[in-house]
Symmetry: C2
Subunit: 420 residues, 2 copies
């Protein structure tokens, strides 16, 4: 595992510091491997109804149970005919067919079509037995029970055969698919109104810091509002977790220890915000090491280097650095893959691109997440620094820079854009 | 208003057809003007809490009530100093300062800094009065109450001044903004835990058609499941409406008339799916004309030309064609702008681009919506035809083609991608 030295200060000789310095960084792709190896999908499932399905993760492959259409479906208003009966028909030399009845959507013609017969048919209706083509109404003229047909049609014309749209047995949506809005009609077309999905991981979000106060309270000098936990909670929820946010917790070993004791075993993950760096007020890494295991402390990402990932019993612990832009970056770079792994989701973000007005200043050895504004012909950086909330202002999405991201980018200067 | 002739068949002489043929098409940009002129924003508002805010539309400009930071905030662990006291300091010639106390996040040093004094300070903590710089801890050495400083720092170094991130009074989010996840921390940072937003438009979704059966029922020959209404409802809900879906309704004048009588006045919009084209089974346009007003019947879009837009009393009526791909296209092209207008939302989809592997076959005189798959270096068309549900399979988003869309595209062959 390649590791890079950080620029974290050595706290040797500091009367207050020196505890658990983040001295080595794990490369981001190694972190992703770690997530994959240390976590397994939650092995339980639930049935949900179709309107609840968006955002949920399919527990099994979804295959077509029936063909669409499952009858021969007319694509036009006109007449269902036997193609052979239209042989030689033209404007100047129409053929005459006798009108035997109607086929409307949901009300098919029940008999078979005989020689030189036709049936008035509407878009979406079923072709009668014996018919093998549709003549469009504008190439006909009706006069009582006789229909004059002005064009010759080939067998198979102007209708969809059984399975032309969706073939019975074909794979429509794979296991691990996070259901999107346009998957709903696909599923509904199969007559399926409930789905087996994976359960949602339960995540406790715990903002920490003596200076961090609940939104709406009265601040004293040097205090700030708990802004981060709303973003962490909302993004994690949107990714598919059930999120329980706590009010800010004091940054004391006792308070953190209490949280770990009280909630581990009840959540799949506890996500602390703040208190994961190597500063003197940071007890989380030490407590997780004492009560469980630290998988990694320090990941080569920017912002968010001091990220902590470990477990206490079966509960995962994520230590998210407390700077605003860091907390969002680590939610995307660490919480997302963890939630995906727990829920069995296959990440399948579409590739869309932007062209950047200027290149971001990102250290090569780090995987950098940079918020961008993508409203004009060229996208601009919204990111200012890890500590700046204004990195979120006007940000439409983010870009990633590292060796892997570069491979996903295009050599003509276009960069992959991801959306929040 | 420029209009184009359609290729809809003339139904003259047809014993069953001929009612309300869609013979003229309104250009799409004219339709958007019509939406703007015929609809006003709903003039009522509500207060919601912050965690409920995503997707809601701001009723007023949101301005910064406080600066961020609202104190001088250290960006590093180290010592708060008077810059003048570090004059000439270097590795070989350190200056000595006396340690007067601590400033921790949320627990500031309460006195002013005197000459040759320093205060141990942590990232995020407030600078004491008198201090005007921070020396990083790695450029210092502590020995009891004496701190040796190895670098000279300029006034203003290594802290954020009041308002450096967000300046009090500045516009953070404009009226009409549809709240996104990363807006939450911006708002929370201001200590604001509730917001005034516009009310959500109420939309009734009514699938029609004798052949259309509820998902889960048993089908007879020629019948299909109601797949469209799930997509229409989900997309419309996601756009910000409160959506009430009805079970499929028979395609009879009485059934449609009953719906209009019973529900108009109770919803901002009734969206019928199916029954809006010029086919013989289509009564909706006639009934809307009788009971209210048809603004337009026939828009130059593909798919979705027979779209109907009108009103009965104060309730808008949208007639969405029943083909699957048409119903989604019309939801995007017509229901979205209507919902946006009703809710006062300012559309602000970010610009992201794809490069298409092949050009879609779109008539020049129509605004075409085409679903695309955007998973590789080049995007491919997912769209097959208006009647094919498989147009949704693997579709990640859509592109638009017309004169306006072309202007939004780039001359180097990149096309704007929109997401569902």
């Amino acid at each position: 595992m390649a590791k890079a030295l950080t620029r974290e200060p050595s706290l040797a000789g500091d009367p207050l510091g020196g505890m658990h310095p983040v001295s080595e960084l794990m490369e981001y792709h190694q972190f992703l491997k770690l997530v994959f190896s240390e976590i397994g999908p939650i092995a339980s499932f639930e049935k949900i109804t179709l309107p609840e399905a968006v955002g949920r993760v399919l527990a099994t492959d979804f295959r077509a149970r029936r063909s669409i259409p499952d009858f021969r479906r007319s694509n036009f208003d006109g007449y269902a005919v036997r193609a052979v009966d239209t042989a030689g028909a033209s404007k100047s030399s129409p053929v005459k067919l006798s009108l035997s009845g109607f086929s409307k959507p949901g009300k098919p013609y029940s008999r078979a079509l005989g020689q030189s017969e036709c049936v008035r048919i509407f878009t979406g209706a079923a072709l009668p037995r014996g018919a093998d083509a549709v003549v469009m109404v504008e190439y006909t003229e009706a006069s009582g029970g006789t229909i004059r047909v002005f064009e010759e049609v080939a067998s198979g014309s102007r209708y969809d055969d059984v399975g032309a749209d969706i073939r019975r047995g074909s794979l429509l949506l794979p296991r691990g698919r996070r259901i999107r809005p346009l998957d709903l009609p696909i599923i509904a077309s199969q007559g399926v109104d409930s789905l087996k999905v994976t359960v949602r991981p339960k995540v406790l979000v715990v903002p920490t810091g003596n200076e961090v106060k609940p939104v709406g309270s009265r601040l004293k000098n040097g205090e700030i509002y708990d802004a981060n936990s709303l973003a962490v909670a909302e993004l994690t929820r949107k990714r598919g977790a059930i999120v329980m946010p706590l009010a800010p917790v004091r940054d004391s070993p006792q308070a953190i220890s209490d949280i770990l004791s009280r909630y581990s075993g009840h959540y799949h993950m506890i996500a602390f915000i703040g208190g994961s760096s190597a500063g003197a007020e940071d007890y989380i890494a030490r407590l997780v090491a004492e009560k469980g295991k630290v998988f990694v402390h320090g990941i080569a990402i920017s912002p968010g280097r001091p990220t902590l990932f470990g477990c206490v019993g079966k509960t995962l612990v994520l230590g998210i650095p407390g700077h605003p832009a860091s907390s969002v970056a680590v939610t995307v770079l660490a919480a997302y893959p963890i939630v995906d792994r727990l829920s069995g989701a296959i990440e399948d973000a579409p590739c869309s691109y932007v062209r950047l007005a200027s290149q971001p200043d990102c250290p090569k050895e780090l995987t950098c997440l940079r918020t961008v504004r993508a409203t004009g012909a060229s996208a601009t950086l919204a990111y200012r620094s890890s500590s700046q909330l204004s990195s979120f202002l006007n940000s439409d999405g983010y870009i990633l820079t590292d060796a892997n991201a570069a491979a996903a980018n295009r050599d003509d200067g276009w960069v992959r854009l991801h959306f929040f």
